[in-house]
Amino acid sequence: MKKLINTAQSVVEDALSGMAAAHPSLRVRERVVYRASGPRAGKVGLVSGGGSGHEPLHAGFVGYGMLDAACPGEVFTSPVPDQIVEATRAVDGGAGVLHIVKNYTGDVLNFELAAELCDDVQVASVLVDDDVAVEDSLYTAGRRGTGATLFVEKVAGALAEQGAPLAEVARVAAEVDERSRSFGIALTSCTTPAAGKPTFELPDTQVELGIGIHGEPGRRRVPMASARELAAVAMEAVHGDLPLAGDLLVMVNGMGGTPLMELYVVFAEVEAFIRGKGARVSRSLVGNYVTSLDMQGFSVTVCRLDGELTRLWDAPVDTPGLRWGR
C-alpha cells in the first residue's frame, strides 16, 4: 500500500488540518468542521457526519446553503457522540438543529446517543437510506445511506438558509430521501490506511455489484463488462425499485479512484438509459462526491424532482465541494 499520509493513525487529523488551511471559510475545532461565519440566529442548523474516507462528504459540504457542521469519525468509523453534541450546540441559532444521518448501525447509535445528550437543543433527525443494493427488510440493518446524502444536505440546506422552521427542513430532507435511490459497482477494493491491504480481492475479470461506501463487499460478482452494460445493471436496479419518470436529478459518482473521463462515459450511458425509459435528466452531477477511499468504481443516484426540490437544488451553495450561485 502506498498512500499520501504521514501515519495511518494521524490521517484524519492531518487531512482536517489541510482542509482548514485550504478553506478560510471553514473552522476546524476538536474534530468538528464548522462554517467560519458561525451560526445564524433564527436559522435551523444542519449537522451531519460519519466515518472519514468519503471526501468531500461531509466536511466538504459545510458552508452557505448546505451544512453548518460536519463530524468526521475515523476512517469508515462513525463519529463519537461528543463530536456530535459539540457540533449541535455550536450551530444552534435558536431554531433547532437537523441531524442528517446515513443509515448505518454505528452512525445511527452515535447520533442517537448525542441527541439524547443535547436536551437543551431542539433536535430533529433524518435517516438517509437510498441504496437499493440492500433489501430493506427485517433481515438487514436496512438500506444504506450513500449518494442521496449529498442531495439531502443540499436541498435541506437551501431550505434552512431561507429561514424555514425545523419541521419543514426535516420534512423536505425526508422527502428527498424517499424520492432517491442509488446503486454502486466496484472495479477494485479500497485499502484502508489502518489495514494496509485491500479489504477484498477482486480479480481483473470481475466486478462487485451493489457495493456500499465502506469497502464492504457487495451482493454479487459478475464478469467485467462495458460501461454501457454496467450502467444498465445499476439503472435497472434503481428503476426496479423506483420507476424512472419525470424530471430527475442524477449523480454519477466516482468511488475515489476512478478518473473523471470514465465517469463521463458512464454518465452518457445513464442518460441514454433514462431517456429510453421516457424520463429526463433535468439536473446532474458527475464527479467524486461520496467516495470510498481509493476504490475504483461508480455509483448512480437518482432523485425524482418536483418544482420545490428543483428550486432548492438550484439555490446558491458555497462549500468546498459544491458551489454555484455565489
Binding site: S78, V80, Y104, N110, A141, F200, E216
Partner: protein, 213 residues
C-alpha cells in the same frame, strides 16, 4: 473481586485486543469494513489511559469509566454497544462484589446491548458471544461454583458462541448487507467479546493463584 480485579480485567482485555487487532480487522474485512481491530484497540488503549488518569476507587467506577471512554472514543457500532454494556454493568454492580452480583450486572450489560442494537441471538453479532457467556455465569451461580470456574465457563461459552456465528446469516450491522455471503465468516464483534471474556477468566486465574499463595 476488588477494584484492582476490574482494572486488571480491563487492562488484560486491552492487551488481548492489541495482540489480536489484525485478526479482528481481517474478520471485519471479510464481512464489514475492516476497522473493528483498530476501533477496539483505540478504545481500550483510551480505557487504560482513563483508568490511570482517574484511578477508580470502586469496581463499579472502573466499569463506568471504561464504558464512558468507549462511547466517547470509539465511534462505529461497537463503541456505543460495548460502551453501553460496561456502563450498564457498572450501574448494576453492587459493592462488595459477589459472584451472583457480578452475574446479574453482566446480564444487565447484555440487555443494554440488545436494547440499543435491537439485535437478538442468532443475528450474528456480539450478542451471540455475550448472551451465552451471561447464561454460563447464571448457571455457575446456581451451581455454586467458584468465580474462577464461573469465569472460565463464561469464556468458553463466549468462544463457542463466537464460533457459532460462522454459519449464521447476518441480520444486523454491516454484515447484513452481504445477505447469503455473510455465511461462513466469524462475526468480528463476537470474536472481540470472546477476547474480553477470555481476559476475565485469565484474571480470575491470577486471583485464584493469589489466594493459593
Amino acid at each position: 473481586m476488588d477494584t484492582g480485579f476490574f482494572v486488571t480485567w480491563l487492562r488484560d482485555a486491552a492487551t488481548r485486543i492489541r495482540l489480536q487487532r489484525d485478526r479482528l480487522t481481517e474478520l471485519d474485512a471479510a464481512i464489514g469494513d475492516a476497522d473493528h481491530g483498530a476501533n477496539l484497540d483505540r478504545g481500550f488503549t483510551e480505557v487504560c489511559k482513563a483508568l490511570e488518569d482517574w484511578p477508580p476507587t470502586a469496581p463499579a467506577q472502573a466499569l463506568l469509566t471504561a464504558g464512558t471512554t468507549l462511547i466517547r472514543r470509539v465511534g462505529g457500532a461497537s463503541g456505543p454497544l460495548y460502551g453501553s454494556a460496561f456502563r450498564a454493568m457498572g450501574k448494576a454492580l453492587q459493592d462488595p462484589v459477589t459472584l451472583p452480583g457480578f452475574a446479574a450486572a453482566f446480564e444487565a450489560g447484555v440487555v443494554a446491548v440488545e436494547r440499543l442494537g435491537k439485535a437478538a441471538p442468532g443475528d450474528k453479532t456480539m450478542i451471540d458471544a455475550l448472551a451465552p457467556a451471561s447464561r454460563a455465569l447464571t448457571a455457575a451461580v446456581e451451581k455454586g461454583l467458584t468465580p474462577y470456574e464461573a469465569f472460565h465457563r463464561a469464556a468458553v461459552a463466549a468462544e463457542e458462541g463466537s464460533r457459532a456465528t460462522i454459519p449464521m446469516r447476518a441480520r444486523k450491522g454491516r454484515a447484513s448487507y452481504l445477505g447469503e455471503r455473510s455465511v461462513g465468516h466469524e462475526d468480528p464483534g463476537a470474536a472481540s467479546s470472546a477476547l474480553i471474556l477470555g481476559a476475565l477468566a485469565g484474571v480470575a486465574v491470577k486471583e485464584a493463584t493469589k489466594e493459593v499463595d
